[in-house]
Amino acid sequence: MMWRDVGVTLILSLILPVVAQGARHTPPGKPKLTSCRSPDKETFTCWWEAGSDGGRPTTYSLFYHKENSETVYECPDYHTAGANSCFFSKNETSIWVNYNITVVATNALGNNFSDPVDVDVVYIVQPHTPENVTVGVLEDEDGPFLRVSWEPPSKADTRSGWITLIYELRVKLEEAEEWEEHRAGQQKMFNIFSLHSGGVYMVQVRCKPDHGFWSEWSTASYVIVPDYIPRERSMWILIAVFSAFIFLILTWIITLNRSSVKHCLLPPVPGPKIKGFDQQLLKKGKPEEVFNSLVVQSFPPRSTDYEDLLVEYLEVYVNEKQELMPEGKDLQDVGCLKSKSQSDNDSGRGSCDSHTLLMEKCGGVESKDESSYEEPELLQGQAGSWERLERGDSQVVDTPDSSDGRVKTWPLVFSPSIHGSSDNHHYGTLEMPKQHSTSEITYSVPDHLFPTSTSFPHHHHPEYRDSLGEYSEYRCSRSPSTGVAYHWEARHPTQAHSNFNIRNLERQKEATGLGLPPSRSMEYVEVQKVNQENQLVLKPLSSHGRGPFQRQREMAEAGQYCNYREKEGAEAERYPTQQQGKTTKDGPVATQLQESTCLTTSGYVDTAPTMPTF
């Protein structure tokens, strides 16, 4: 029982406060004056905020008394300025006088006083925003500028001097983030310079009395700055002018050094030259003097091994029955080639301009006593060695000198087997006719072999070809660096693909007889050196490695060189060019005759007639 009472009491004590809590009303909470403001120093308004209302409707009232007076007045106007406010009109407003203001919250249960606040109207002045803010763009000689003008707030009496306002404005581009603020003092107009052309500016103004608060910023005014002459364009113009100026200077410098620039970019190709060869003399028509200048006294070097320099491949038909006369009695009929070459320092000229290819007919047609020439005499012995006789002054031996890049032509000497059928000891030489009028090199072939030893001009080559019972591949390959290698080949005209028209069947027979007998063994011979007696020392090649392809290739290369020469030499005469693609031919058969005769102004014939090979 007692426990029950205790429990009931306990429950009641717990429940009752909760119940009473909801139903209990308290006096209102303490209100608080938040701010008092005066827009014109003639009236002012005070605002307060309410505390808790205590669950009951609560009324608020404001009481004040002025300093030095105990009379308490109540707020005259609660509505003008809105809720929880008190508006003091002009009649109730005294400046330079402290107001002691208190707000009272009242409800049914009680009231509550706020803390008193002392207010002096002079110090709470906060004007309204300036009005009629206008922004205009004006032109100046330096460019456009903004002129901002405004008016003081209508409520503030600045005209009579009651309030003195100072102004402040701020400007920024529309897309900028930071404002740029300016103090304008007491003036009502302001200029802004240094504008961005084409930009949109925002302007705001505010004001403050000399003893109060700043007003709010006015609403933003937008202005668009027109595009005046942009600095960027003038900058580009400056850059263009400057770069054009630099370009002109560079062009002028390059023009001054035109030759050296050209020398740097397109280095001239040195060509073979004959030292001492005077082109002008040749033009005058005095070949003797020209050739004399080419004579080198020290030629031939006797102790030099020419093994590496001179490579000749002779396809020789060795007829053991034949004998070669060691002497060169018939050499007179043999045209010989002589090339005089001397070292020439004139290597700067194109290769086709060089006149190192000088072939001179010696013996036979025109013999020049003063000019020395050599008559290679090939002697064919049992072993197929050849000799060469040299006639005349020991002059220049046309040993290919690779350093000078001279071309030497060798008379083609046929094997004794060539003329085996007929008279022996025949030397078939090829004369390389020149077209030069003054000098000719003729290849004289023994009469029984060939027609006469007349000079074969360039255009006689076909005839020459025809008359030859054989075809020889004569290659002229010139290169400034490697020298010249002549390859003769006396081919066996076994095949019937010869393009030659043999004039003389007899000749042909003789040629064939002279030439390589059919189905005879062929042997390749390499000229090893020139012995002391100016005789060629031949050695047979071990292998028949050198095939027609190679020869053709060499000939093709020779033709290339000649063609190059022809191109280089402006005065070179035309000549049928060599087929360039000869090397690509598979078969050993070269049906077309190739001849490339490179002629220079000196009349040098650098021929590489290629006989069709079978």
Binding site: C36, K41, E42, E67, N68, K90, N91, T93, S94, I95, W96, V97, N98, V117, D118, V119, D120, V122, Y123, I124, D157, R159, S160, G161, W162, T164, D210, H211
Partner: protein
Amino acid sequence: MHIMQSVVWAVLLWPCLVSLGVPLECKDEQGSIILCASISKEKLLDRVIQHAELIYRVSEESCTLFEEMFVPFPMRSQRNQAGYTCATKAFPIPGSKSEIQQISDKWLLHSVLILVQSWIEPLVYLQTTLDRYDDAPDTLLKKTKWVSEKLLSLEQGVVVLIRKMLDDDMLTTSYYEQGVAPYALQPEVLESVLRDYTLLSCFKKDAHKMETFLKLLKCRQTDKYSCFLH
């Protein structure tokens, strides 16, 4: 006697007058230094208004300085709060614009003069009390000293202005009103601080009064009708 006094004052306050740019005497007088470079009323009024504005600004700065340095935080008065009571003046000062508009020019000028003269002595007193502070900033001392000097100049200017505008031949010397209650010297530090603070605040308010009166007077001089329309 009065003439002698005026002459003495003219001689003594000669630098002040030169700085003010206003000659004190502009009439032939025996034994007096005459400087009759006259100045127009408008310019004089402008100069006086400038003085008043400057005095108010400096007093405001001094009050703020003093408040930051010496006044404990709880006792600091807010901008809109004035927890002190200024000494009442001998004659009523208009308290509103409407009241001021009802006052004549003469009364305005005289009110200004009375205000100025009532503060000359307290400011001198303030300077002595501030020297007693241990760590009073130099700027505060300089400002208060400057203000008291400028107040004298202002007084002289107002006097001349009264004479010019009102053709009132008054004594230029400032007579010390006995009505101004002297501030009792209290040895307590805190009270002393509060007293000084009250002094500065009241002076600041009165300086603003002077400035406002003078500006209203200026408006009346230029355009009487528009001034009253508002």
